[in-house]
């Protein structure tokens, strides 16, 4: 069986014209246009390009919805196994269009997409996590070297063969850190890395340092005595019995519990956190999430009120991806509830 590929290019590579044609609406032809022709030759008969969509870069970026609808309709008619877009080299609007096509096709239809971009193309960050982007030069002069890389990747994906590392295959890393078996144990690799450093030889770190987000602090609360304060913790404090089955490490969810009728967590709560000595937190869970003090302050009028729900999850081993999601979800609820400030405790 030969796999079917739908190709996507812009007005320039679609041979319609240059910048003056960037506003043209998408059209489809059952032909191999521009790079699609050279691309198909590289597939050695194992897959074929069934047709090409041509769309102006400006049109796509200004009328994304209409453009995507055209693409969805074409896909519904053509039923391709894969969509290939570009290569866009360092053309920003073309890159953004390829990324837009890639994300939409992958998210909505689950069809794999291969494209090609220069690593600085703004389209890279838009779609690298979903599409496979061949790393190509910054100008169309690199077409001859770009297409074989894209074709090889496309065939591997179509045949469901495992893709090698970005370096081996020539694509831009998607950012997935996958656990694999090494030839040597870790300690031996460490000793060899150190000796390479002594000898001034090249070495490659297995873990490039992460880059952290910086969050600007919110403005100060002007009058605490009128403020609604919520209590949130990553210390794994949950009602005894852990009704929502929050994990003791690497949390996949968070919980919220009504604390409007209690004056402290002690008695009804404990910790399921797997990252610290739980004995003292189990004795007095308020040591980790100080509801007792907040309620006292509420009584004394120091703060306006304690928000009725207490939010909790486990911090240990929890991926930053999950933490960002929890933060957004909890933050949204607190914002909607008119909460002015949060006491956020970790362990």
């Amino acid at each position: 069986m030969s796999y079917k590929i739908l190709y996507y290019v812009n007005q320039f590579f679609g041979q319609v014209g240059g910048e003056e044609q960037a506003g043209i609406a998408p059209f489809y032809k059952e032909e191999k246009i521009g790079p699609a022709m050279g691309f198909e030759q590289l597939l050695k008969g194992e897959a074929q390009v069934v047709g090409t969509i041509v769309c102006g870069d400006n049109y796509f970026n200004e009328n994304t919805e209409e453009s995507l609808k055209f693409i969805y309709d074409t896909i519904a008619a053509v039923k391709p196994d894969m969509v290939v877009a570009g290569p866009a080299f360092n053309a920003g609007r073309y890159g953004m269009a390829c990324a837009g096509v890639a994300n939409a096709v992958i998210d909505k239809l689950g069809i794999p997409v291969v494209t090609g971009m220069y690593h600085e193309n703004p389209g890279v960050d838009q779609c690298k996590a979903k599409a496979i982007i061949a790393e190509v030069t910054d100008s169309a002069a690199g077409m001859r070297t770009a297409l074989p890389v894209m074709a090889k990747i496309a065939l591997k994906l179509l045949k469901k063969e495992e893709l090698g590392t970005p370096k081996e295959e020539g694509y831009i890393a998607q950012g997935k850190r996958l656990t694999v078996f090494a030839d040597k144990r870790g300690s031996e690799r460490a000793v060899e890395m150190l000796i390479a450093r002594f000898k001034g030889e090249e070495f490659e770190t297995e873990l490039p340092m992460p880059v952290f987000d910086k969050v600007a602090p919110a403005a100060a609360i002007k009058d605490l005595s009128k403020a609604k304060i919520a209590l949130v913790t990553s210390g794994g404090i949950v009602p005894i019995g852990n009704p929502d089955r929050i994990q003791s490490a690497s949390a996949q969810k968070w919980g919220k519990y009504n604390v409007s009728d209690i004056s402290e967590l002690t008695g009804g709560y404990y910790t399921i956190h797997g990252g610290y000595d739980p004995v003292y937190a189990n004795e007095v869970p308020d040591r980790v999430a100080p509801l007792d003090m907040l309620k006292k302050f509420e009584k004394e009028g120091l703060i306006g009120e304690v928000y009725e729900y207490f939010y909790t999850t486990t911090g240990t081993g929890t991926s930053v991806g999950n933490a960002i999601q929890f933060g957004k979800e909890i933050g949204k609820e607190l914002k909607e509830a008119g909460v002015d400030g949060v006491i956020l405790t970790s362990t």
Partner: protein, 428 residues
């Protein structure tokens, strides 16, 4: 200091009525072992079972793994300062039941216990699928508080390894490994041109199931301290069953610390291995500053040109790891780190809880959140249901047919940060 590890290869293990080793077969005196361990009033019941490589057997929840040995020359049998009177370790000769291991299980103390599969998919992920395992199931007396419960199971495991070790007392070694190293001055005189290397072994020191012990001293209570590599190989450092199963340094891994062994292997050839600094990972900020400053100072005082730092656990100790690295690199000391990562189920999250530009040479031992699917076992030693509450498991991760899904977090030794196992992470 000169230490000989006289290794007798264990080809099979059987349960019997006396401790003996003959023709490669280790016989475990079941009733004798049970009676000895029940000497502790905090132990209510003991069960002994065996698990061999290739058996379709699952062991869970595993607390510690210990290598059975007996000291045949020099002082300090057992674990001085813990199960036997204090002695200076690091010299003499030890008969090692090579290929055998004591694995402790029993009622769950905390969330930091794990699983060992002896066959198939699961066997790939743990180094302890390759050892002949004597599984000691410890049922504690009723009503023990958690700290006493932990101490009880820790000591029972060490004692079991010691008692089984006696079987090798008169055995003839199949292989002898000699670890000999003079003072720093002597070694430096011998190898004046080789770069001087220190190994910094971080020990988590944060309370129940989070402590390491050195000659019986809880690592929480120490300043970073230097020990001769032979001392650790000779049993000076034991596990307090610390942290998640995947990166706790079991006692077995201290006895066979791969970072020490691999550095020793290059000593006199490519490097001049100066020794080991044990560094506690504390919970307080002041504690972290103190130990990290102190560790860097010790390395500098020793004249180190390079340092390998291994972490234990993840999360807040990532900060200690990188703080030590920053200090060492700032002093011009080339530093290589061994750690593991929390990159999430999909591997898309940032891998560490801290960052520093000085950390340019890092070995990754795997993603603790990597999810594995383990098929049903023919036999479960322990309690398969424990997986739901372990770090790395979750409610519902055990299917009715006995198969289970879990993170590497729950697999003993999977992402060992002393580099004992062969996992790594590649960016895709």
């Amino acid at each position: 200091m000169k230490l000989e590890l006289r290794k007798v290869k264990v080809k099979d293990i059987v349960l019997g009525d006396q401790m003996k080793f003959a023709d490669g077969v280790l016989t475990v005196d079941v009733n004798g072992l049970i009676a000895a361990l029940k000497d502790d009033v905090n132990v209510k019941e003991i069960k002994i079972d065996l698990a061999k490589p290739g058996d379709k057997t699952r062991i869970i929840p595993v607390k510690d793994v210990i290598e059975p040995r007996v000291k045949v020359e020099g002082k300090g049998n057992g674990f001085p300062g813990v199960t036997t009177p204090i002695e200076q370790l690091g010299s003499g000769a030890v008969n090692v039941l090579d290929g055998a291991a004591v694995v402790t299980i029993g009622d769950i103390v905390g969330f930091q216990e794990g699983v060992v599969d002896m066959w198939g998919e699961g066997a790939k992920w743990t180094p302890f699928s390759k050892t002949m395992n004597i599984v000691v199931d410890i049922i504690p007396a009723n009503g023990l508080d958690p700290h006493t419960h932990e101490t009880t199971v820790r000591l029972a495991g060490l004692k079991a390894a010691e008692l089984i070790g006696y079987a090798a007392k008169d055995a003839v070694a199949d292989e002898v490994e000699v670890f000999e190293m003079g003072s720093i001055f002597e070694e430096t005189e011998k190898y004046p041109d080789l770069p001087k290397v220190v190994y910094v072994e971080m020990l988590i020191s944060q309370g129940l199931l989070h402590d390491g012990y050195i000659y019986g001293v809880n690592s929480q209570q120490i300043l970073p301290t230097m020990i001769h590599p032979n001392e650790e190989i000779d049993g000076a450092v034991i596990s307090g069953n610390c942290v998640a199963a995947c990166d706790k340094i079991t006692t077995y891994q201290h006895q066979n610390n791969s970072a020490i062994l691999d550095l020793y292997n290059r000593h006199g050839k490519d490097i001049n291995f100066l020794g080991v600094i044990l560094t506690p990972e504390l919970t307080t900020l002041a504690g972290k500053f103190r130990t990290c400053d102190y560790t860097a100072k010790l390395c500098k005082s020793l004249g180190a040109d390079g340092v390998i730092v291994s972490e234990e656990g993840y999360g807040n100790p990532d900060s200690d790891l990188l703080m030590i690295c920053k200090r060492l690199e700032s002093e011009g000391i080339k530093t290589v780190l061994i750690t593991d990562e929390c990159s999430g189920w999909d591997g898309m999250s940032q891998p560490l809880a801290d960052t520093t530009p000085e950390a340019v040479a890092v070995v990754s031992a795997g993603n603790v959140s990597h999810v594995v699917e383990l098929p049903p076992a023919d036999k479960v030693i322990g309690n398969a249901k424990a997986i739901a509450t372990l770090a790395g498991g979750w409610e519902g991760c055990l299917s009715e047919d006995g198969s289970m899904k879990c993170e590497l977090n729950a697999v003993i030794g999977a992402t060992s940060e002393i580099g004992y196992h062969n996992l790594t992470v590649k960016l895709y």
